[in-house]
Symmetry: C2
Subunit: 191 residues, 2 copies
């Protein structure tokens, strides 16, 4: 969570908006509500962000950093490189089992604005890309040869776990994904 706040009012608004989007889902959060929670008049809100989409995109960037930090920290608690690469699934497992879980904010944001908000789409893509890069880097740490290919496969598993957990409420999604990831990783390490 460090490095996310510089104390300025803009960052405060982004932090509040991000928390609301994350906690209640994108479509349940109105500008009025952000205004109330942040204690900022609407005029100033629109002075900082020309539209809700832009504010949403800024919140997604913040959430991206938070998520990557959390995953990285979790990975660093593992000594074994393979366990470290699989830590992302443990992170997901914990998250899915939290009471307020209601799906990936990025998926929600994408669904909400569709292709109508390019700024949101690019924030979502940036997050998915950085997530994939993080996974690939962790995979590379295992010493596997084709880290890019294996990283791409693990990234699919990460998004798949998220989709299954969101749509079906199946809290075992992360464990199934982890099992598949372990198989993929072990196989790649064998040759």
């Amino acid at each position: 969570m460090d490095g996310l706040v510089d104390g300025g009012p803009r960052d405060h608004v982004v932090a509040v908006a991000d928390d609301l989007f994350f906690t209640h889902g994108v479509h349940a959060v109105t500008m009025q509500r952000i205004r109330s929670e942040a204690g900022v008049p609407l005029k100033k809100l629109y002075g900082m962000f020309p539209s809700k989409d832009v504010l949403l995109a800024a919140s997604l960037e913040r959430r991206d950093r938070i998520a990557l930090c959390a995953i990285t920290e979790r990975a660093e608690t593992c000594d074994d490189p393979v366990e470290r690469a699989l830590a992302v699934f443990d992170f997901l497992d914990d998250w899915f089992r939290q009471p307020g879980f209601h799906g990936c904010v990025f998926a929600g944001a994408f669904g909400e604005s569709g292709a109508a908000a390019p700024v949101v789409v690019s924030a979502v893509r940036a997050h998915k890309r950085s997530l994939r890069e993080l996974v690939t880097a962790l995979v590379a740490g295992t010493g596997v040869r084709n880290a890019d290919a294996v990283g791409a496969q693990l990234a699919v598993l990460v998004d798949g776990a998220m989709a299954v957990a969101t749509f079906t409420g199946d809290t075992d999604a992360a464990r199934n994904a982890r099992q598949a990831a372990r198989t993929v990783l072990d196989t790649a390490l064998r040759d």
Copy 2:
């Protein structure tokens, strides 16, 4: 596509709505538009379906049947049981590369109505469940022992491929997922 139409006006409306939702995305299709395309007055539309959510849910049920049929047909063209189980990824691969592809309708519907429309949520869950059951059945056909566990893992890969293709536009998603699925399946068959 057979067995989907009985010629009644209700099925006609569902077919038109489903095509629109599938082609343009859920959030881009209004009741007015369905009314126009189906050539049915709004009053009759609301006589058949009390709300858009109910119509959407009916469309999703139809789409569920279409998708499962298409995947099954595709699988039946393969002789090798393993190839048959992996055929779903070939199906996805073709789909992702089609020009008008813009993501899974079920994901779109879920994002649109969120938890606000239980009827939609249950339609989405039913689809994901039947998809998983189909995959598991195909996996069982390979003679693998723990077909349920492997089926669950492949289901995660299916949803993951869909998520990656939708959010990032990465058309290789299905191939990455297929590669991972093959590894999982081969490993399961080995012991």
